[in-house]
Symmetry: C2
Subunit: 316 residues, 2 copies
């Protein structure tokens, strides 16, 4: 299987420049003394999550290609839907976003506000319906993680970390479908070979931790994975991302729901950043394991959290 | 009276580089269509507020000067205290911070954590006690706003706005002692002459709005100013900052307590940024007045808010 390379990620950086925020690496005075803590706040991206990087890279590469592009399709109820809708609008392409009927109205509205057409479907039918939409409209599918261009786009985060903090010793990344960790891990391994890359998963959706231990992908029922509050981390790696994770992760740790909530509070009160639960998982991992002494970076992957849930977590 | 110039601000930018965060200018998709909104998140600075810029510039210039410096003194219960303590620690200088006895323990602890000596005093005695400490120790006073080096340091924010968004048409800045608005206004007037600079004050501490209307400083009793939830905006300009404000502000608007709270919520849920009430006042001003069509920037000045207050505002 062909893996994404550091050159792919460098190309992606040129592709997404000007479209995504070059997020600052923020030094946190409240880390462990021997592991100075830095936060990479991808919550500051347009649409509030790192997903715009992969979307701009994949769609940008499509447009730059030789085939005419009539539109894009994505299936997602979360940040990937917003990212594809947003990037398509900037590039002037029609976007069709397939979402389950039970998606909260606020997310459907947000997607429509970017000019996308929303196609509602029954739960569990997203992928099939998206394939149908692609076949009917000729639009090209932009998958949330199982795509080299998406992985390379997310990898630009690793490139920026290497530029801003070349002496980094550990990088904590949340793991779900694995696109983010695959991309960042590839960049860090190429540019900062002394650094360890540590994946972090919720205990309640720890299929990848189990899979890496067994040396093969394992399947957890979606009803199990749905138990975690970290609703952005309920997917499972594809063959492509799993191969990357085997290659670039030095370790994977799991964190409890209470640890995730505590991470959201710490980010709000000490870093003054709003994180969705999935976005606080990397910090929870940093708090949990003894990584090597030296500078540590945690990825704050996104900040889209319902007001009621945020209020409830912060008062907890 | 000699006012701070754009050259002073350029010098300050060199002085503070590497010590403060070059904050990104974040495009917000949720502004008015004819006035695209951008947020300058100074809450991402170390200590969570713009005050580090003035502190690093003033203390850096002291150290670069010909006289030996034995330490610095500041009086403040808020962000300026943290900023001076933080900057002094980085420069390896002793810091003496004078705080009223009723200062919340959490702020006293935070100041001590930066290695500063905290001197408690009776309410209303801060300035006198700070003068005494300076006389006894030989340390140099770093005032919160009545100081050209502090004004020039805060002005580096304006320099960055002009670099990132030269076509800016309006800049909204909170006004209290006036150091921030003086510095930013000076930079914007020099570099983006088409832009209007709009000061924003809480209605409950609107001494500067009244003073500018009358053409002279007016004094509001501190018991009146203390009514606003925006606890960083309870000071009044000095002669030096008032002269700058007369020069650089095109307009000053006042906002209600409800509008400030609504700004905190909007920043948390739409920009994913934690703002203290003072930090949301500029956005409240943007929502209130009809500024010229074209790109608008609001300064999010700081994000230090007690957990209970934040929880209460977000659930409101």
């Amino acid at each position: 299987m062909e893996l994404v390379t550091i050159d792919d990620i460098r190309t992606a950086a040129r592709q997404v420049a000007g479209h995504v925020v070059r997020t600052p690496l923020l030094e946190a005075s409240w880390g462990d003394p021997d592991r100075p803590l830095w936060v990479k706040p991808e919550s500051l991206q347009p649409i509030g999550a790192f997903k715009v990087r992969g979307a701009f890279n994949a769609i940008g590469a499509l447009i730059a290609g030789s085939d005419p592009v009539s539109g894009v399709v994505a299936y997602s109820s979360g940040n990937h839907a917003q990212a594809v809708a947003y990037a398509a609008a900037i590039y002037g392409l029609p976007a069709h976003i397939v979402m389950p009927e039970e998606t909260p109205a606020v997310k459907i509205d947000a997607t429509r506000r970017h000019g996308a057409r929303v196609v509602l479907c029954a739960a569990g039918q997203r992928e099939i319906v998206a394939e149908q939409v692609a076949a009917e409209t000729g639009a090209v599918m932009i998958p949330p993680f199982d795509h080299p261009g998406v992985i390379a786009g997310q990898g630009t985060i690793g490139l920026e970390i290497a530029e801003d903090l070349p002496e980094v010793r550990s990088v904590f990344v949340p793991v779900s479908g694995g696109g983010l960790a695959s991309g960042i891990g590839t960049a860090i391994k190429a540019l900062c070979p002394r650094a360890v890359v540590i994946g972090v998963e919720p205990e309640l959706a720890a299929d990848t931790a189990e899979g890496l231990a067994q040396g093969r992908r394992v399947d957890w029922p979606i009803t199990d994975r749905n138990r975690t509050i970290a609703d952005g981390l309920r997917s499972q790696p594809s063959e492509l991302t799993f191969a990357h994770l085997q290659n670039v992760l030095d370790e994977i740790v799991t964190v409890s729901e209470a640890e995730i909530r505590s991470g959201v509070r710490e980010l709000a009160f000490r870093a003054r950043l709003v994180a969705e639960p999935s976005g606080a998982v990397a910090l929870a991992g940093y708090r949990k394991v003894a990584a090597p002494a030296g500078p540590a970076v945690v990825i704050l992957s996104g900040g889209n959290v319902a007001p009621e849930m945020l209020g409830q977590i912060l008062s907890g």
